[in-house]
Every structure is written in C-alpha cells, then in structure tokens.
Symmetry: C2
Subunit: 453 residues, 2 copies
Amino acid sequence: MEQVKVLLNDDEIPRQWYNIQADLPKPMNPPLHPGTGKPVKAEDLAPVFPMNLIEQEVSQERWLTIPDEVLEKYLLWRPTPLCRARNFEKLLNAPVKIYYKNEGYSPAGSHKPNTAIPQAYYNKVFGIKRLATETGAGQWGSALAMACKMFDLECRVYMVRVSYEQKPYRRMMMNTWGAECIPSPSTMTAAGRQVLAEHPDSPGSLGIAISEAIEDAVTHEGSRYSLGSVLNHVLLHQTIIGLEAKQQMDKIGVYPDVVIGCAGGGSNFAGIALPFVRDKIYGKKVNIIGAEPSSCPTMTRGPFAYDFGDIAKMTPLLPMYTLGHDFVPAPIHAGGLRYHGMAPIVSHLVKEGLMEARAYHQLETFESGVKWARSEGFIPAPETNHAIAAVIDEAIRAREEGKEKVILFDWSGHGLVDLASYESYLSGKLEAYELPEEEILRAIKATEGFPRP
Amino acid sequence: MEQVKVLLNDDEIPRQWYNIQADLPKPMNPPLHPGTGKPVKAEDLAPVFPMNLIEQEVSQERWLTIPDEVLEKYLLWRPTPLCRARNFEKLLNAPVKIYYKNEGYSPAGSHKPNTAIPQAYYNKVFGIKRLATETGAGQWGSALAMACKMFDLECRVYMVRVSYEQKPYRRMMMNTWGAECIPSPSTMTAAGRQVLAEHPDSPGSLGIAISEAIEDAVTHEGSRYSLGSVLNHVLLHQTIIGLEAKQQMDKIGVYPDVVIGCAGGGSNFAGIALPFVRDKIYGKKVNIIGAEPSSCPTMTRGPFAYDFGDIAKMTPLLPMYTLGHDFVPAPIHAGGLRYHGMAPIVSHLVKEGLMEARAYHQLETFESGVKWARSEGFIPAPETNHAIAAVIDEAIRAREEGKEKVILFDWSGHGLVDLASYESYLSGKLEAYELPEEEILRAIKATEGFPRP
C-alpha cells in the first residue's frame, strides 16, 4: 500500500509568512497616485486599509510572523495535506508524479480564508468594527464573512448581481456566517445609485462592486475595505500554502520540476509558487506556471503597464499585466479568474522570467476537471480546473519527451457550490468563450495611453 | 498555541473493520423471510446482493480485513482528523472537552463513501457490472456514484422526486461522477409505473425508491442492489470512523465519557460508536447517545418489532425499533434521518441498554448548527446538527452537575449542498415539524400486528 498523503501536525505549521520583496533581484515599480503620478504614500491608503496591513503591503522584511490568534484559526483546517494523485497519474499514463495541496479542506472550500483570517484579525487589532468588500462568484465574500464572524467584526459584501442570482449557495454561506450580502449595483452607495440610474437592469461587474465597497468603507465610521487578491499583503498571507508544501516535499525527499497554480488576481498562484520562486532566484531549476483563462488572457496577451485595479478608477495605479480596466471578460464559470489585471508581484516575476503563463479554454478546463473528479474523487472548482489542464499539458510533454517529472500544483478549492457549471458542461451546453483576436487587439490598444513602468 | 487536530498518517489507517456480533452479550434476533416466517438464508439474498457482502452481513468474526484496493481509495481522504472544538467549547462555557471526527472531508462530503467504496469493490470482485440504489437527500446516491466510477461499474440512482427537484446539486454530483440519476417514481420499473398510474404527481418516497431500485437490480443482467445504511455490513464498514477515533484519542491519552452520533438508518451513529460499545461491554464506563429527529422518533418512541425495511415490503423482516413501514416522516431537511426503522444492530444495543437515544426538534438542531458554523467555521449537514444539539445538551448537563466531561461525536458531513435549509432557518421560515402525540400513537398502534422478537 503506497503512501498517498503527506501530513504536517499542528506543531509543524509555518510560523511566518514569506515576503518575496526581500529576495527580488530587481525591485518592483511602486504603485502610483493617479492624481500626482507619484508613488503612493502609506497615509494615502489609511482611509481604506488599517495601518498594520499597509505596513505589510510595503514591507521589505523576508519573514513576517503569523500572530498566534491567526494560527489558532488556521489550525481549524491547516496544515492541509499534500496528496499524491496516483489515480490521475494512471489515467494520464505519463512518467510523472503529481502532488497537490488540497485547499478545498477549508470551511469556505477554497484558499481564500488564508488571507481572510489575518485581514479580519489585523483590522480587529487596529480597532476596526466593520469590513466592506466585494465578491464575484462568492469564494472571497464567503471566506471574509466567516473570518469576520470569528473576530466579531460586522461584514458587508457587495456581490456582483448576476452571480448573486446565479450562485445563491455562496450568498447563503455568507448569511450563515452572519454577513450581509448585497447585490451590486445597489442603492446603498452613490456609485451604485449612479449605475442604476443609467442602467436599472445592470447585471453588475467586479469593477462596480469594488467601487461600492470602497465607498462604503470610507463613508462608514469604524469601517475599512478588504480585498481578496492582487495586493502584496494578500499574496503574503497565501504563501503559507507553498511553505507547507515545501516542508511536506522535504519530508519525502522530493522537489518539484514544475509548480502550477491557476491565476485570476494572482493570490492562489503566488501562494503555492513564491517559496519556490525564491529557490529559483538562488539557482534552483524549477518551472513555475500560472494557468489563466484564454477568455481573459492577462499575462499571456496583456501589456505590462500602469493601470487601475477597478473600473471606477478608485485604486492607485498598479504596475501589472493588464487588458485595461474597461475590459469585461466573458461570463466564464471560473468567476475568480475574471480579472482584467494581475497582481503586481506576479506580473513583475513573469516580466523577469521567473514565472510563466499559459491560457486555457473553458471547455478544456472542464474536460480536465471531470477527468480529475472521476479518478481522484474530489470535484474541483472551475478555477482549479485551469491548473489541472496545465498539469495534463505538462504530463503529455513529459510523455512525449520521455522525461520523468515531478509536478506540484495547488488544488485551490472544491466545486460543490459550482455544480451548475458541471451540469452545463456534461449536457453539452457550456460555452467555449473563444476571445476573438480583434477583441484582444482592441483591449491592448485601449491600454496605449497608460503610463509605462 | 494549543493542539487542535490529532492526525493519523496513511500507514496508521486501520486494516480491519470491527464486527460487534463477536462481542454481543446476547445474540441478535435473525431477519425473517416474510413468506415462511423463518430466518432468511444467504441464498434468499443472492439475487439482491453479491455473496461476498452477504457473507459479511452474517459474519460472526470479530475483525474483517479491509482489502488493499479499498484502503487505497480510503486514503484519498482517510484517516480523517480528530479535532478539538475549542471555539465551540468557549461558546458553551461548560467544563467539557469536545472532540469530533470530520467526515465532511470525503469527496462526497459525508461518511457515506466509507461503505460505498467497499460495496462497489466487492460487487466488482464478484463480477457485477452495474449497481442500482435509491437515495433521499442524495448523500448516499452521490457517494455510490463516485465509488462506482472508481471501480468502473455502471450506477443508477433512484432519487425521491421531491428531493430530486429540491436538491439539484446532489443530482449534479452524481452526474459529474458518471451515474444516472432518475427521479422516483419513474417509468423505468413496474413499481414506479404502478405508483404513477394512481398518483401521476407523486412526490415519491424512500419506500417507493427502494422498491424501484431492488426491482431494477433483479431484472437487469449483471446488476445488484446497494443500500447505504441499516444492514450489518454497512455498519461494519462505517466502524473505521470509531476505530480511527479510538487510536487518535489513545495518542493524546484521552477517553470519552460520552460518544454521540446522529441516527437515521443507524450507519453513522454505529460507525463512531461500535468500537466504544465493545469497551462498554467489557466494563468501561461510557455513555453512547444516538440523536434522532423528534419528527421521526424511531428509537425514543417506536416499539421493538419485526418490520419491513421498505414500504413495498420487498425486504426481509428486520428486528428493529420502528414506527411502521407505512410511517411517512415530515419533510425535515435532515433527509438522511427520515427513516421509519433503525438498523437492527443499533436497535439491539439500545434494547440491551448499551446505547441510548434522544430526539431533537428541527429548529433546535439548526440553532445548534449555526452556533457551530459561527465558531468552528465548518457548516454542518442538517443531519449532523442533531448530533451537535445532543453535544450542547451534554455540555449543559456537565455545567449544571459541575462535572468535567470529554465528549466525542461524529461530524457526519458538511451542509454546503443543503444551504437552502439554512436560508429557511435564518429567515424564520423553517418549520418546527412537531409530531402530534396522536400521530405517534397511531403509528405505534399500526405496528401492533407485527411479529415480536
């Protein structure tokens, strides 16, 4: 009987997050204030985030200690097991060993609580009473709802209206954890009311929801805003995935040739990858691949430019691969990957050749996910299916090259609340969402006037 | 930082299931053939189950070896962690230590795969090509769908029509794992057609679905029937939960004063409890409590009698606590607990004073479940909420008596696919489903003619 899982006991959980800023061969471009065009100062962000998180956002320290109060909550499900996907390997019939971190074991079913919990904790410690955020498919909103309840904070989530209606179960998760979930655009904010005045039937978008959540946070006493991806401190918190994975692979004396994660805003991909990027910086040979949707090909097609994080231009200008803040991705089921930009850290590392990116069509990602579910059991989230498609790609390459390969990837979450998308796929109704070349070119052209780093 | 989880590594997984028949102080009454009134013979069951499972059903061996092929699949998620519910303890403010087995970690989200996998395996080994089963809320149907796919068997699930319509996500899980899910009553069987002829709008019932599944199995070449609870071999497979829990508690030098499980057909309750019942038989002091719905109070109110397992009277007569095979429980959301009878093993042990039973109202179970979700994170299945209500009861007693107590319970599954029931509860729309005393008396009266063991 062969070993399937590598476990870490509670006392083996990492005590520090890893901050890649300390190891970058070339420093990152700073975010810019859209008004002055100068680097954003900490105090510019103070109405939006608590100062302790802003300090993490700009920190250059290599290791940041995880507070005991956060570790205590992490231990509800962390460390997550590192699993060997032997049944999937057999199916692929390729000379590969496939390991995955099962982040679907969290109460919210994805990696999102890894940052929701510290964000709620730091806000609480800073004296904040209430958080506002936005969510697309609801993975992030549900994670923050749970974290706020654990630290006794109020929580309001602006959920893109079309998702609010399509994915009622994620809204119910938020309610069960005591959060208020509002379909966006709403009448709660000036931004929302303005959209509704012009488009009473607006299905909403992540851009509108971000604008509503930021406005909500800065106009409510004792409130702050919380973001589930893109920013440095969010990626920092997610490094616990990769740190655990490294410890687990060390235990069995294995090192990956390839590290894979799906990438929307970048926090899941960075979470598994950054500790391995560090090794790569110091000479280790490892390929690090982000899998994105071909209908939102930020890293594979977008230019590297300064752009806003949201459509309403309320955020600082971030240096990143972007299709332009006006780009509206097709309504693929991997809602967590429908983002016009990419985390500045991930963008920087792709630009520096330390990470690479591949794009996958919706249909091939679901084909990959069904293969996974039917061999390994666990039904993956639509986002996770992108990583699985990349794993299959790498396995086929290994077979063709006749080379043995160890693949590690982040199984970012389960798809039990996204089953309607599997139903569409299995009944042949799932859209391919091929992005026409002229649309990509139009998006790229729209970014021409953006400042270049 | 205090330890939250006690883990077992892959190589510590139990290699044998525990069969309590070998330790019973008084042997159980045999199931009877309804025609002859004599004990059922193995060959009577042969058209319905493969002989290797029938052998397990009647085995008196104390330990039955788990085949490597089954262990290999168990290892996808087993051993499950034993967790200390520190946050919930704080909330209760009682002198208790609460430990729970998280069976929600399985790919299907409940304890059901513990028996689905060996049942699929033994059928495969016996040369069977296809299984038919029934399911209420869908926990069992989805588990068997997954297991059949893993062992390359075809699978058809007759799902009670009202659940088929109310819980589309469980049907989608079955489809994702490649099974066929048919709303019952259906036109696929004579039993179904007969019901439809009389009641074209029939919402279906577990009794009808069982009849359809058995008829399907015995009329299709190479097919057998599979049941997710009640029978001896099903409970046997579930003992892996309690065996792991005992090992885990041994590791930290703790023994429970109370062991709790929710009980519908009895397999989850027996799964956690039987290894501790063995200790009790040999003199250990431990209270073992099954939590059932007050709207279906089988153990707390039903007489101990010979009754059919299904409404259509296709099964042997089983010696058990029963409200009569015609009793139709109210449509509570804990669909897995809506069963008129109780596993013969559990019934026998309750009768012998080795187990006890308590009944809980739907509203108090959801109140308990929401408290759990808001402190421990994980959202429990409606069935699991019954066990949590019993845990709260025991904690309050301990507080009142000023006695320290260690409580162990089986967290039988998560409620992510049952969130609509939480929505009802949170919006104040959940029904209490008080069972009027005259209805209980009427059900008890209906069993008067049943043979008595």
